[in-house]
């Protein structure tokens, strides 16, 4: 039952349906947000039969005059940031090893906090294009459509087996309040094509996590919202992005004003030495809290995607696309789809560990890669043992195999979503056409020659913090069979040894032992022999 649900979720989300929702629904927004002083249900301007979502935005802006201008300055709106002189992000130049590039794929834009970013004609300066509701909806019924690049469903729409009812914009508008977990997770848990696909530590189980899954967010105890850590200020939300590191340092915040709106780390609240055991506190200068306190990724009921091989896509059976399913860690999921290729998935996955200081060096569609150096690290974390800002962090390393231009040695974007005739891979199953169209909409060169190359995508693991008693045990790292295998720029007790010392130790101990045994044996034999001789020559001498 659950498996089937997951399959539907995965299937449905790339069809444009942020999954899991909302049968149970919500009381009045004021009772839900006890710190709010306004009940939007009582606002006359919202009591209209809206038939177009941007009209709702205009109604919001009547009172919240600066809101759209604020949103326009945020990552949620811009989807790109200038780093080292190059614009990089979902909106421009950035790529990953899931669907590679959002630009040119109108369906990806369903998660943009705006309405109708179908192509480069989208007006980023238009205030009414801001989607207030996706974050502030309190009904749980507001869904953004892939087909319309982020407008809600204005009509009842059949999505596979699932009927998505038309949105009631009046009800949604009246329900608005502080963003709930469902609002954030509708996009952030479903990136990459479905629930849990991308992050490894962010999936729909965080809507209502048990304490063992997430000590901070579980309603059993602290019941943090997303914004408890991702602090907001004028619609700017703390979080890592290209050009913005995930944390500024490893100090406690202590209420300092200059840190408002800046990114938080575990240490912001806990400090760098929160353990009562010195030996454990000694780790924190080099080991991130997350490395021990998030023992596995995807510890909820949902899988996370571990690999995606595009090179096998476009196979058809009797001229038709098909899918195959397999059980991964007890949950059924697609192992093959004609439009996407081969996948592997996992649950309770041991992370990989890398030095990290909150910064990922994102390669772009302009970066020239060395095909002999495959797998290519798309966004490798930076830092090493000697860097005082770096810590050992857990990562999900998503393995991809994706198209690149063998002439230009650059990663190629794919035109995935579109009607017949647009070159879209998911309609025409033709690689050259899809790559030509993808290159065109991303304004990159395509020589016509392509192949597939292995890539690694890095996802820092920081959510789903487990209870202290579930933390990673010492020997998981301090042993010959260490989790930190591969991080070789320092000596790790229990894992490492010096060959000469071991050879000396072996010779000294076992050499000593065999010497002693040999000597003892000779002593025993010679004593016995003498005794026997004495017995024979008894009488003349005794004892």
């Amino acid at each position: 039952m659950k498996y089937k649900l997951v399959t539907i979720l995965i299937l449905s989300s790339w069809l444009g349906l942020p999954p899991l929702a909302s049968a149970e629904k919500n009381q009045n927004s004021v009772t839900k947000n006890a710190n709010m002083t306004a009940d939007h249900a009582k606002f006359e301007i919202l009591d209209q039969d809206f038939d177009y979502a941007p009209d709702v935005t205009e109604a919001c802006l009547e009172c919240h005059t600066e809101a759209a201008k604020q949103v326009h300055q945020t990552f949620h709106w811009k989807w790109a940031e200038k780093v080292d002189g190059v614009m990089v992000g979902k909106g421009q130049n950035g790529f990953n090893n899931y669907c590679v590039s959002a630009r040119g794929n109108a369906s990806c834009m369903q998660c943009h906090a705006g309405y109708g970013w179908r192509n480069d004609d989208f007006d980023h300066a238009a205030e009414e294009n801001v989607d207030c509701l996706v974050c502030h909806d309190g009904t749980g019924t507001y869904k953004k459509s892939a087909a319309t690049s982020g407008h809600p469903y204005y009509e009842d729409t059949q999505l596979g087996e699932f009927l998505q009812p038309a949105v009631d914009l009046k009800a949604v508008a009246k329900s608005v309040g502080e963003p709930q977990r469902e609002n954030c997770l509708s996009c952030h848990a479903n990136g990459g094509g479905g629930n849990g696909v991308k992050h490894g530590d962010t999936d729909m189980s965080l809507v209502d996590p048990v304490h063992s899954l997430d000590v901070h967010m579980s309603p059993e105890k602290l019941n943090f919202s997303c914004q408890t850590c991702h602090k907001t200020s004028g619609h700017e939300i703390a979080g890592r992005y290209n050009g913005k590191t995930s944390f500024i340092d490893h100090e406690k915040d202590m209420g300092r004003i200059e840190r408002d709106g800046k990114n938080v780390s575990c240490e912001s609240c806990h400090g760098a030495t929160p353990h009562e055991i010195r030996e454990i506190d000694n780790h924190t200068a080099k080991v991130a809290c997350t490395s021990c306190h998030i023992p596995e990724m995807a510890r909820g009921p949902y899988l996370t995607k571990l690999s995606w091989d595009w090179s096998t896509a476009t196979q058809l059976k009797d001229g038709k696309p098909f899918t195959e399913e397999k059980i991964f860690d007890g949950v059924e999921a697609h192992s093959y789809m004609s439009n996407k290729g081969d996948f592997t998935w996992g649950r309770n996955v041991t992370p990989q560990y890398r030095w990290y200081k909150g910064e990922l060096k994102q390669k772009t569609l302009q970066t020239v890669i060395d095909p002999d150096a495959a797998p290519i690290d798309i966004n490798p974390p930076t830092g090493d043992y000697n860097d005082p800002d770096a810590r050992i962090w857990p990562f999900k390393v998503h393995k991809g195999k994706q198209p690149y231009d063998t002439q230009h040695n650059r990663i190629l974007p794919i035109k995935l979503y579109g009607k017949q005739g647009t070159g879209a891979l998911w309609s025409e199953f033709d690689w050259p056409k899809a790559l030509t169209a993808g290159a065109e909409s991303n304004e990159v060169a395509f020589s016509g020659k392509f192949d597939f190359i292995e890539t690694n995508g890095f996802w820092p693991i920081k959510h789903m913090v487990a209870p202290a008693e579930d933390a990673v045990k010492c020997v998981a790292c301090h042993s010959r069979d260490s989790r930190l295998t591969g991080l070789n720029d320092f000596y790790l007790i229990g894992r490492d040894s010096n060959t000469w010392v071991e050879v000396f130790g072996f010779l000294a101990v076992f050499g000593g032992l065999s010497g002693v045994i040999g000597h003892g044996a000779l002593r025993y034999i010679s004593t016995h022999r003498r005794k026997n001789q004495q017995t024979y020559s008894q009488g003349e001498n005794h004892e």
Binding site: A285, S479, G494
Partner: protein, 207 residues
């Protein structure tokens, strides 16, 4: 050649000496077991318990060592550790040859000269080099995070190498020591002496 008239029972190992010997034996055993577990050779106490036991034992042991050194220096016992090459050859010859022929040990134990020349060399090295290096490298290990934060040392590898090398040397000593104590009049003579302090010694002056 041996006769009963030329021997008497004396206290070779004083009370405190026996105490520190056995306390040290116990602590070295604990330190070796926990240390080698931390080195990744086996799992016994569990890593966290091994670390804590090792650290506590290490501190207690270094405290005991201060007492031991004080005792050795203030009682004049240090003279017993004063190394000499005289008689080394004879002792070696005994262990490699004479013992198989039923010869007597060339060294005559007295309270003032309880170690044979080989023991003098061994114990002065172990007590005043190995153990001190082990304690110092142990402290460096324990305070490594602080030393690193202070910019004094960047990596732990050198400390680990010295400490592990020394530990293997000490383990090797333990193995050989456990065998060498069987070279008394009877197999158990020496161990009895270390328990009771008393040993029957030959009082004949002339050889």
């Amino acid at each position: 050649m041996s006769n009963t008239t030329g021997s008497k029972i004396v206290v070779i190992f004083k009370r405190f000496e026996r105490f520190w010997h056995w306390a040290q034996a116990l602590m070295i055993l604990i330190l070796l077991l926990t240390g080698l577990e931390m080195h990744g050779l086996f799992q016994l106490f569990g890593f966290a318990s091994a670390v804590q036991t090792h650290n506590i034992t290490g501190f207690v042991w270094s405290g005991l060592l201060v007492l031991i050194y004080t005792w050795i220096l203030t009682t004049g016992e240090w003279q017993q550790y004063f190394p000499t090459l005289k008689g080394v050859e004879g002792t070696l010859r005994f262990y490699l040859w004479g013992v198989f022929k039923g010869e007597k040990h060339p060294h005559h134990m007295t309270p003032e000269d309880k170690f044979n020349p080989l023991q003098r060399l061994g114990y002065v090295f172990i007590l005043f080099v190995l153990l001190i290096v082990q304690v110092i490298s142990g402290f460096a290990f324990y305070f490594f995070a602080d030393l690193r934060a202070a910019g004094i040392i960047g990596h732990v590898d050198l400390i680990a190498i010295v400490h592990t090398l020394n530990a293997y040397a000490l383990l090797s000593f333990v193995v050989i020591h456990l065998y060498m104590i069987t070279f008394g009049e009877k197999l158990t003579t020496h161990i009895k002496a270390m328990l009771t302090g008393k040993e029957e010694i030959n009082t004949d002056k002339a050889e």
